[in-house]
C-alpha cells in the first residue's frame, strides 16, 4: 500500500506552540506523566506494603484507610495498582523497544534495497503476523514457562513486523523524492541516505506508532497476566489482579473496577498522546490503527 507523507515544515518553537494548544496532546501528556510518576513513586513509597498479607483485612470495601479497598489477601489495592504500573510500563516499553530496534532497520533496509530482499522480508513479516501476540505468547510460555520476561518477548516479537511495515511504507514514500535523488547524485550511499534523510523524516510516524504500540502493549500484557502467562505472583500486575477479582465479582467488585480503570486511563492517555503528536506534526497523516 502506498502512503502519503506530508513532510512537516516547522521550527521547534512553532511545534511547541502548537503542541500546547492541542487538547489531545496536553491531556495525553498529563495522564502519561502521571502514570509514570505513580510508577516511580511506588519504588519509594506506597500506602501500604504489598508483600505483606493481612488476612484479617481481606476484601475490605474502599474506605479512608484503603481508598480502593483490599483484595482477598488483605493487600491494599491502591498500593498494588501503583506497583503494578511499573510492571505494565516496563513490559510495554521494552516490547516497543524490541519492535522498534529490530523492525525499523529491517523495514528501512527492505525499502532501500527493494526487489527480492524486500519481498523476502515482507513474507517473513506476513508469517509473524499470522501468529497473534497471544498465540506466540502461548507457544513461548509452553516452552519456557510463564513470566514477565516471556511476555515481553512475545509482545516484542509481535511488534517487530508492525514497525517494519510502518518504517518500510514511510521510507518507500520518501525514497522517490527529489531530495533523495539529489543526495544520491551527491554520491551518498544507501545506508547513509537512510540514516541522514529517511529516518529523520519518518521519525514522527514511528513516534506515533510507538505510542500506539505502547498502549497495545499494556493491553496485551494485562491480557497475558490475566490468563496467567505474564508476571507471576507475588509481583502485582494489573491483569493478574483482574484474574483474582473475577471469582469475587459479587462480593468484592472493587477488586475488578480499580485495576481495570488503571488500564483504561493509562491506555487512554497514551492514545491521546499519540493522536496529539500525529495532529501536531503531520496534520494530514492517516492514523492506521
Amino acid at each position: 500500500m502506498t502512503m502519503r507523507i506530508d513532510l512537516p515544515e516547522e521550527t521547534l518553537a512553532g511545534v511547541l506552540a502548537k503542541a500546547f494548544g492541542n487538547r489531545s496532546f496536553v491531556i495525553g501528556l498529563v495522564i502519561t506523566l502521571l502514570v509514570v510518576a505513580v510508577a516511580l513513586v511506588s519504588f519509594l513509597w506506597t500506602p501500604s506494603d504489598v508483600t505483606r498479607l493481612v488476612i484479617a483485612d481481606k476484601t475490605q470495601s474502599p474506605s479512608h484507610v484503603h481508598w480502593f479497598g483490599t483484595d482477598h489477601f488483605g493487600r491494599d489495592i491502591l498500593s498494588m495498582i501503583m506497583v503494578g504500573a511499573r510492571n505494565s510500563i516496563a513490559v510495554a516499553l521494552v516490547a516497543v523497544g524490541i519492535g522498534m530496534g529490530i523492525g525499523v532497520p529491517l523495514g528501512a533496509f527492505a525499502a532501500a534495497r527493494g526487489g527480492m530482499v524486500d519481498e523476502a522480508l515482507m513474507r517473513v513479516n506476513d508469517l509473524v503476523f499470522a501468529f497473534p501476540a497471544l498465540l506466540s505468547a502461548i507457544m513461548i510460555t509452553a516452552i519456557f514457562g510463564p513470566g514477565a520476561v516471556n511476555a515481553i518477548i512475545a509482545i516484542g516479537i509481535f511488534n517487530i513486523p508492525v514497525f517494519a511495515r510502518v518504517a518500510r511504507a514511510g521510507a518507500l514514500a520518501i525514497w522517490p523524492r527529489e531530495f533523495i535523488l539529489a543526495a544520491r547524485a551527491a554520491g551518498k550511499g544507501m545506508t547513509r541516505i537512510s540514516i541522514e534523510h529517511i529516518l529523520p523524516n519518518i521519525a514522527t510516524l514511528l513516534l506515533v506508532q510507538g505510542t500506539i504500540q505502547f498502549a497495545l502493549g499494556i493491553l496485551a500484557e494485562a491480557g497475558l497476566s490475566y490468563v496467567g502467562l505474564g508476571a507471576q505472583p507475588p509481583m502485582p500486575s494489573w491483569g493478574r489482579m483482574l484474574f483474582d477479582a473475577q471469582t469475587r465479582m459479587v462480593t468484592a467488585p472493587w477488586m475488578a473496577i480499580f485495576p481495570g480503570m488503571a488500564i483504561v486511563i493509562t491506555v487512554l492517555g497514551l492514545n491521546l498522546l499519540g493522536d496529539g503528536i500525529a495532529d501536531i506534526l503531520d496534520p494530514k497523516s492517516r492514523r492506521r490503527r
Binding site: 513532510l7 512537516p8 515544515e9 516547522e10 521550527t11 523524492r177 527529489e178 531530495f179 535523488l181 539529489a182 543526495a183 544520491r184 547524485a185 551527491a186 554520491g187 551518498k188 550511499g189 541522514e196 534523510h197 529523520p200 523524516n201
Partner: protein
C-alpha cells in the same frame, strides 16, 4: 445580457482575505480568460461560482448566473445548476476521476441525476459525448476504468462529464497545465469546438498568458485577489497599460541575454552517450507468458561539449527523464555506454564514480521536493562537498556555502534557515547553489523552471545563463517547454518514444523542424507574440 455577472466579489477564508472586489462578466458564447500567478485567487473565483468553497470561506458581493443569485441560492438550487447549467473542468486529470468507478458510470451519473433518464438512455448519451470528446466506444468502451487511460484521455473524460448536458457556462481551471504541449493543444482545440457548437460561455483560468490569448475574447488579470486589468484580449496585451500586465507579458517572452553563445568546436567532448537503452520489466498480463519489457530509452547517442548548453525536449513519457538519470548514474542502462570526460561511468561501482559525480550535478523540477525539510540550508547546500578529495573544515565549509549562495543571489544569513522559509524561486536558487558548489563541469537540469510562475521563471533562466557565462558550466536542460529551449540552448535534441529523432542548432530546429514529432511540438507551442498578432489580424 450577461450569462454570468460577478460584482464586487470579496472572499475570505478563515479571516484571510483571498479576493477583494472582483468584477467579471461572461456573455453567452463568450470566452473569458482569467489570468494570474499562483495564489492570485483564480481558482477560488471559480469555486465561488460553483459554490464549492472550503468550509471556512465567506463570500460577499454579487454573483448572478442566468438571473439566479448564486451567493443567496439554496444548496438544492446549486445542485440543480452544477453539472447541468454550469460544468467544470479541473487541473489534475490524474486525480479528478474516481478510481473505482468506470468512465461510463461517471459520465452517465450526472446525466441520470439531472434528467432522470433510465440507465440505458443515460449510457447512450454518455457514449455520444465520450465519442464527441475523442473517446470512441470502439477503443474506449464505457467499462474502462480511469487507471486504464492516459492523462490526456482522462482529461477528455472530465470534459465529457462537464459538457454532457450542454451547460450554458463551462469553467476550466488550468485544464492543460498538467499536460504536455501537444496534448495541451488538442485539449484546447476540443474546448474551443465544444464552446462554439453549443454556444457555451467559457471561463478559462490559466497562468499561461499565451494559452489565454489564443483562446479568450476578453481577459481579466488577477493579482493578489484584485483585478488589475480587464478588457479585450488583443487590445489589453498590445497596449499593456497597466504595469503588471506589462510585467507579465515581458516575463512570458523573456529570453536571457547570452553575450557569447557557445561555438561548437574541436574541443574534446565532455559527455558521450553511445547507443544507450533502458528497458523496464513490463506488466505481467498472464502468469504463463513472460512480461514484455518496455523500452523507455532506445539506442540513444549524444555528446555535450564543455560549456555547451543542450536542451533535450520531448513530450511527457518520451524517456527524457530516464535518460537524464542514466547520465547522472542514478539508473543503469540496459545497453550502451556513457562516458564523462573520457571515462566510462556505466557499470562502475559507486566508489569509482566519485570523480564523475563531483563534476556532474543536478537541479530538479520541484523546488519543494528537492530539499530535506529536516535540514538547514548549510547542510543541504554542502551535501555534494563530501565528494571532494579533501574534506573541508567546518569554517571552510561555511565559507564555500556562503560563496555558492552569493553566486545565486542569496545572502550568507540564509545558511541557518530551513528550506520552508524560502519561496519557490528562492528554493530553486538554493537548488542551483547546491549544484554548483563543487564547481562541476556539467549540470543536468530536469524541468528546472516549469513549476515556477512566469516572473520568477525569467529570473531563474537569467541565473542559469549568467552561471554558464561566468563558470563555463555545460548544461543539459530537460524540458517539454520550447521557450526554455529557445531561451538559451545552443543545441536542441528532440526525443520521441525513447529515441532521439532530431538534433541541431536551437534556432534551426525550432524554426524549421524536420521530423514529425518536432513539428508537432513546435506547432503546439503556445506563443504570445504569434497569438497577439493573430488576434489583431482577426479584428482588422
Amino acid at each position: 445580457m450577461s450569462l454570468l455577472e460577478i460584482e464586487n466579489l470579496s472572499l475570505a477564508i478563515g479571516g484571510t482575505p483571498i479576493l477583494k472586489g472582483v468584477d467579471l462578466a461572461i456573455a453567452p458564447g463568450e470566452v473569458v480568460g482569467l489570468v494570474g500567478e499562483s495564489g492570485s485567487g483564480k481558482s477560488m473565483t471559480a469555486l465561488t461560482i460553483m459554490r464549492l468553497l472550503p468550509y471556512l470561506a465567506r463570500a460577499e458581493g454579487r454573483v448572478a448566473f442566468d438571473g439566479i443569485d448564486i451567493l443567496g441560492a439554496t444548496e438544492d438550487q446549486m445542485c440543480a445548476l452544477r453539472g447541468d447549467d454550469i460544468g467544470m473542468v479541473f487541473q489534475e486529470p490524474m486525480t479528478a476521476l474516481n478510481p473505482v468507478k468506470t468512465i461510463g458510470e461517471q459520465v452517465a451519473e450526472g446525466i441520470r441525476w439531472h434528467t432522470r433518464a433510465n440507465r440505458a438512455e443515460a449510457e447512450d448519451r454518455a457514449r455520444k459525448i465520450l465519442d464527441r470528446v475523442g473517446l470512441p466506444e470502439a477503443k474506449f468502451p464505457l467499462s474502462r476504468y480511469p487507471h486504464e487511460l492516459s492523462g490526456g484521455q482522462r482529461q477528455r473524460v472530465v470534459i465529457a462529464i462537464a459538457c454532457a448536458l450542454k451547460p450554458k457556462l463551462l469553467i476550466a481551471d488550468e485544464p492543460t497545465t498538467a499536460l504536455d504541449v501537444v496534448l495541451q493543444a488538442q485539449i484546447l482545440d476540443l474546448l474551443r469546438d465544444l464552446v462554439r457548437e453549443n454556444r457555451m460561455g467559457l471561463l478559462l483560468i490559466s497562468h499561461d498568458l499565451a494559452v489565454v490569448t489564443e483562446m479568450a475574447d476578453r481577459l481579466t488579470i488577477l493579482s493578489h485577489g484584485e483585478v488589475t486589468e480587464a478588457g479585450d484580449t488583443a487590445r489589453t496585451l498590445s497596449e499593456q497599460q497597466h504595469p503588471y500586465t506589462r510585467e507579465l507579458a515581458l516575463a512570458s517572452m523573456h529570453v536571457p541575454a547570452r553575450p557569447k553563445p557557445h561555438l561548437a568546436g574541436s574541443a574534446k567532448p565532455l559527455l558521450e552517450v553511445e547507443g544507450v537503452g533502458r528497458d523496464y520489466p513490463g506488466r505481467r498480463i498472464s502468469l504463463f507468458r513472460p512480461a514484455q519489457p518496455i523500452s523507455a530509452v532506445d539506442d540513444v547517442s549524444l555528446t555535450i561539449e564543455p560549456a555547451q548548453s543542450v536542451a533535450l525536449v520531448g513530450r511527457s513519457g518520451c524517456g527524457k527523464s530516464t535518460l537524464a538519470r542514466m547520465i547522472l548514474a542514478l539508473d543503469k542502462p540496459t545497453t550502451g555506454t556513457i562516458r564523462f570526460r573520457g571515462e566510462a561511468i556505466t557499470g562502475k561501482p559507486e566508489s569509482a564514480l566519485r570523480p564523475a559525480r563531483r563534476d556532474m550535478q543536478v537541479v530538479f523540477q520541484d523546488p519543494y521536493g528537492s530539499f530535506d525539510p529536516r535540514q538547514k540550508v548549510e547542510k543541504l547546500v554542502a551535501e555534494p562537498l563530501h565528494l571532494l578529495e579533501r574534506q573541508p573544515a567546518k569554517a571552510e565549509r561555511r565559507e564555500m556555502v556562503a560563496h555558492a549562495l552569493h553566486e545565486v543571489g542569496l545572502g550568507p544569513r540564509d545558511m541557518d534557515k530551513y528550506p520552508h522559509e524560502f519561496s519557490g524561486g528562492q528554493r530553486q536558487r538554493l537548488s542551483i547553489a547546491r549544484a554548483i558548489i563543487t564547481r562541476p563541469k556539467l549540470v543536468v537540469a530536469d524541468e528546472p523552471v516549469s513549476a515556477l510562475d512566469v516572473s520568477i521563471r525569467a529570473q531563474i533562466l537569467d541565473l542559469f545563463a549568467e552561471l554558464n557565462q561566468k563558470l563555463g558550466i555545460a548544461y543539459l536542460f530537460i524540458t517539454h517547454d520550447l521557450t526554455v529551449a529557445r531561451a538559451f540552448a545552443d543545441e536542441v535534441l528532440v526525443m520521441h518514444e525513447g529515441k532521439i529523432v532530431e538534433r541541431g542548432r536551437a534556432a534551426e530546429v525550432l524554426d524549421h523542424p524536420r521530423s514529425e514529432p518536432a513539428q508537432a511540438l513546435v506547432s503546439a507551442m503556445p506563443d504570445l507574440h504569434r497569438a497577439i498578432a493573430r488576434r489583431l489580424q482577426e479584428q482588422g
